[in-house]
């Protein structure tokens, strides 16, 4: 191609010349003009163009080659990384198995006396009078505290993510010897006699940190405090209801606002930009409670895990917020939870827009107190309806176990299995929708960052096989399905390792194969089919 300088080829070059277009230009004339300047220049130009063309092709080829090389290198690196993670993870799983076996071995001699003895009569108080540790902790030292790890830290500590189950697994007993249950009981009467005329008094928060320090690591910090918040909210609701009895206008107004909030949340869809009307309505109603409808003040810290320090930048920096505002936030949260249960339970994708709206409201500075979100109101409700998310465990075959798992009772009977599983599906999906929100493009601070998602997964998968329950598998499935991509976006390779634990190892460890474990494991096949993500070796 590049031999255009050769003289034998001259005719072909001449043919390219623009001055020699036209068919009637005969050979002789061309021969006569062969040494003219035009011909020469033409030939040079042609040569130049050709050279440029060839050069471009070469450069393109080179860059393509470089890209392929780079791609290959990356692929190799990913494979290596995956292999490393897998190995680490297998090692961790083996460790866990060894511990479990050790524990089981210790349990064996203790079991026989149980079978002939009927259960002792005062059942509900039984957990508190629990005898000395049954399961001894292995020699492994327990990590002292489990503070919620920051997202950045999480991302770097992927090897540890698999080992997270290890510390939690073998030592249920710190709790057995722990005093808080008693003190908790002692406290309750105080809450049970509320003064309906007054908004609830702020509780002091001493209990929360204490129970925190001694709580087992898989349990969510502030677990007890959430129950108090839940109780305080009930009192607040009662206060508004009673006030409404005296004041018909108030009753009508709160009723209208409540129904408007519920309706707006029911209108949400996953269409982009389709939720403007309902969101505006929610914001308007909440804002109206802060400004146009005066109501008695209440201390917001009553409904928070920790009392925030005053912040000069904050929209609301005083000691109180209007009661009606907190009441409506409470209604808002309740509507969210019911929407999760009623709609997302059967159509899990419907949880997403609800989660988006919830987080956007709580992250909105005008609805915060001292620049801290009031999201504990929502979390307190979550904690009551779906305790599994917060590290609580229980057997579905016992009364107490079901109560702990948040299995609902209606008319004195447990709701059916299907109803329970639907509820848990909706709440699992809902929690994922709350946790996995991307604030990287927002100026606001995320009211409930993704670390909570990780924490919930970790606390569930660290359950020893003899304590795991179908409820946990149902919740896990709902948390993972449709959120794989989001999870991977936040946690990268660590998320893949975590998914492996959640979808493969944890159900594999279960003592009983049932529909719940199978349904969780089906996600592995779905992920492979739909996203090309291989979790099985």
């Amino acid at each position: 191609m590049g031999d255009q300088t050769s003289h034998d080829d001259l005719p072909s070059l001449l043919r390219r010349s623009h001055i020699h277009e036209g068919h009637d230009y005969d050979y002789n004339t061309r021969f006569e003009n062969r040494n003219s300047e035009d011909v020469h220049r033409d030939a040079l130009a042609t040569a130049h163009i050709e050279r440029e063309r060839v050069r471009e092709i070469a450069i393109e080829a080179l860059s393509l080659y470089e890209l392929t090389q780079e791609q290959q290198r990356l692929r190799q690196k990913t494979e290596q990384e995956e292999q490393r993670v897998n190995l680490e993870h297998e090692r961790a799983v083996e460790l866990v198995r060894i511990r479990e076996l050790e524990n089981k071995a210790r349990q064996i001699p203790k079991l026989p006396p149980r079978l002939p003895t009927p259960p002792p009569p005062p059942a509900p108080s039984a957990p508190i009078q629990k005898p000395a540790p049954i399961i001894n902790p292995p020699a492994a030292p327990t990590p002292p505290v489990q503070a919620p790890p920051s997202q950045a830290a999480q991302q770097q500590q992927q090897p540890q993510t698999q080992t997270q189950p290890t510390p939690a697994n073998p030592n249920p007993n710190p709790f057995a010897t722990q005093p808080p249950p008693a003190s908790r009981l002692a406290q309750t009467p105080q809450f049970q006699a509320p003064a309906p005329q007054k908004p609830p008094q702020p509780q002091n928060h001493v209990t929360a940190p204490t129970s925190n320090a001694t709580a087992p690591s898989h349990v969510f910090p502030g677990l007890e405090r959430y129950l108090e918040i839940h109780k305080n909210l009930k009192n607040l609701r009662l206060f508004i209801t009673n006030a409404g009895k005296a004041d018909k206008a108030l009753k009508t107004k709160t009723g209208e606002m409540r129904r408007a909030l519920r309706q707006s949340i029911g209108q949400l869809t996953s269409e982009k930009g389709a939720n403007r009307i309902p969101l505006n309505k929610i914001v308007d109603i909440l804002r109206a409670a802060l400004t146009t409808h005066p109501s008695p003040p209440v201390d917001p810290s009553t409904f928070m895990i920790k009392t925030p320090e005053p912040d000069d930048q904050a929209t609301h920096n005083g000691d109180s917020l209007p009661t009606l505002f907190i009441y409506l936030l409470n209604v808002f949260c309740k509507a969210i939870i019911t929407q999760f249960i009623e709609e997302a339970g059967v159509a899990p994708k419907a949880a997403d827009p609800v989660g988006v709206i919830a987080i956007s409201v709580f992250s909105n500075p005008q609805f915060q107190w001292r620049n801290r979100p009031l999201i504990d109101i929502l979390i307190a409700k979550m904690r009551v309806v779906c305790p599994v998310l917060f590290g609580i465990r229980g057997s579905e075959k016992t009364e107490e176990g079901r109560a702990r798992l948040g299995w609902k009772k209606e008319g004195g009977h447990w709701v059916g299995e299907q109803v329970h599983s639907t509820r848990m599906t909706g709440l699992g999906a809902g929690y994922a929708a709350l946790c996995l929100r991307d604030f990287s493009k927002s100026k606001l601070a995320n009211a409930w960052p993704p670390t909570h998602y990780w924490q919930a997964l970790a606390s569930i998968v660290s359950t020893p096989p003899d304590q795991s329950s179908p409820t946990q598998f149902v919740v896990l499935r709902a948390m993972v399905e449709n959120y794989e991509a989001m999870f991977l976006r936040f946690y990268g390779t660590a998320a893949i390792a975590a998914l492996k634990v959640v979808l493969v190892d944890f159900p594999d460890r279960a003592l009983e194969r049932n529909v719940a474990t199978s349904s969780l494991k089906v996600l592995v096949d779905k992920l492979e089919r739909d996203m090309g993500l291989k979790l099985k070796n």
């Binding site: 059942a123 519920r262 059967v346 159509a347 016992t398 107490e400 299907q418």
Partner: protein, 496 residues
């Protein structure tokens, strides 16, 4: 066990033309629960009541504080609470795994979040999967898993090594329903390799193109044309299934078409007829259509689903109806909802007003093109649209799980002058909610003597207690709806 002798038990009413060797099924299963769950002890009752005392409003403050516990001293859950109501259409003691379904199909069921077979599935599947294949006529309430039952059967029967050879045909009365069944087959069969499904509804198959799928779902007219035009090779057809069989066999045109289609399928080994309703007159014809069939039938008082709370509102005039309609969306938590109206222009008018209030609404009726209707329904199914306003087009069979409110904006009527209440349509309409044991609410609007009487007749016919919702105190309405749904839920799983 007591539930085995319950007179209302569905099992007692399965009639068999021949008696296949399945008679020992009941005793074999009855011992199962006692193996798994210890009998309730006296303590359990005490434990339960004190537990109830400790729970305000179903909450469990005192008990779930700790994440760890020692299960040895806990009280076992009562047998009855685990089993639920033996009379419920969803009650079953078997698991899908025990029904002899292939692993691939099971995976599909898990993928769809199916947990346990419903009663119709538990009772019918052993007969449906029996060899040699036997015919079946099965009746079961709306939303109890009929579609899944015949889909599992069909998936188990076809030869996957011949993916382009039609082997099973499902007929449905409307294109929406056919599309929906197609979707269910795809979902349950999502892990079945080599599965090909094709819809034979108007406009879906090009002229001259051959049907190249092992399972065909369609409407009778289109299927008939396709076979006539040799686009559909029916020579190796094994299974024929009619969904909403009563409506297909009952209607003059559809019934003829169905019979003709059947005549074109010489090799069919199994004919299945499924519906929520089977009027006696149709039943006779059904038995000719599907001879020697195993039959599962319901009594009339069993037809309504307990999980659907049925209420009504007395509205003053047409304008009142609209105002109450829009208020209802705040009075309860609504996922998706369907509003049934009589006239197209009412449908469009309501759609406009609700849209202005922020709802995602669409009105669908006969005026829409087929493909457009497919699209709208798909958007409703995925939750892009949450309120569907429709004339009777969609009364039957459409299954969108998240629908938890159905509104009869107009009471369904039939007859020459619309002077007779249409009880069957009412049942199918409200059956769009309360799917598979979930709670759903149905609210009918009455506004004059005629509509009131009509609704009253329907209520008498099915012996349902319709609950009246006040229209002047919405706090009260909210409370009533809450309590009624609560007790409906209780009805779905508790001992009678």
């Amino acid at each position: 066990m007591a539930e085995e002798s319950a007179p209302a038990s569905l099992a007692d009413r399965i009639t068999k033309p021949t008696s296949p060797a399945v008679a020992d099924e009941t005793p074999a299963t009855s011992s199962k629960w006692s193996d798994e769950v210890a009998s309730p002890t006296a303590e359990s009752k005490e434990g339960e009541s004190s537990l109830a005392a400790a729970q305000a409003d179903g909450q469990v403050e005192h008990l779930n504080g700790s994440g760890l516990q020692d299960g040895r001293y806990e009280v076992e859950v009562k047998l009855s609470d685990i089993q639920g109501d033996v009379n419920s259409p969803l009650y079953s003691i078997t698991a899908f795994e025990e029904l002899g379904i292939s692993e691939e199909i099971l995976k599909g069921l898990y993928g769809m979040n199916f947990k346990k077979p419903s009663k119709i599935q538990e009772k019918a599947l052993p007969y449906l999967l029996l060899n040699p294949p036997t015919n079946m006529i099965a009746q079961s309430q709306s939303g109890t898993g009929k579609t899944a039952a015949f889909v599992i059967t069909i998936l188990s029967r076809i030869d996957l090594s011949k993916p382009t050879q039609p082997q099973a045909l499902v007929l449905a009365p409307s294109r929406e329903l056919a599309r929906q069944i197609e979707g269910v087959i795809r979902s349950i069969g999502q892990f079945v390799e080599g599965l090909k499904i094709q819809a034979a509804v108007p406009g879906a198959v090009e002229r001259g193109a051959k049907i190249q799928a092992s399972i065909v779902v369609g409407t009778p007219g289109t299927v008939m044309d396709l076979i006539k035009r040799r686009q559909f090779d029916a020579s190796q057809m094994k299974v024929l299934c009619l969904d909403e069989a009563d409506s297909m066999l009952d209607q003059q045109g559809l019934g003829d078409q169905c019979s003709r289609v059947k005549g074109m399928l010489p090799g069919v080994q199994q004919t299945l007829l499924f519906s929520a309703t089977f009027p006696d007159a149709v039943m006779q014809y059904a038995q000719i259509f599907s001879p020697n069939a195993n039959t599962i039938k319901l009594r009339r008082d069993e037809l309504t689903v307990k999980g659907i709370s049925q209420m009504y509102m007395d509205c003053s005039g047409d304008e009142g109806k609209y105002n109450f309609l829009s208020q209802l969306y705040g009075a309860m938590t609504v996922g998706s909802s369907i509003i049934f109206v009589k006239r197209r222009n009412t449908a469009d008018a309501i759609a406009d007003r609700l849209t202005k209030e922020g709802h995602h609404v669409v009105a669908v009726h006969g005026a829409f093109e087929g493909a457009e209707r497919d699209r709208i329904l798909e958007e409703f199914r995925t939750g892009k649209i949450k309120v569907l306003i429709t004339t009777n087009v969609l009364a039957r069979g459409i299954d969108v799980q998240s629908v938890n409110m159905v509104i009869n904006y107009d009471v369904p009527m039939k007859g020459r002058n619309d002077d007779e209440p249409d009880a069957e349509t009412y049942l199918h309409r409200i059956g769009r909610t309360g799917r598979f044991g979930r709670v759903g609410v149905s609210i009918s609007f009455v506004f004059d003597k005629k509509s009131f009487n009509a609704l009253n007749k329907i209520a008498l016919y099915y012996q349902i207690d319709l609950i009246r919702l006040p229209t002047d105190d919405w706090d009260e309405t909210e409370n009533i709806i809450k309590n009624v749904t609560k007790s409906s839920r209780a009805g779905t799983n508790l001992q009678a």
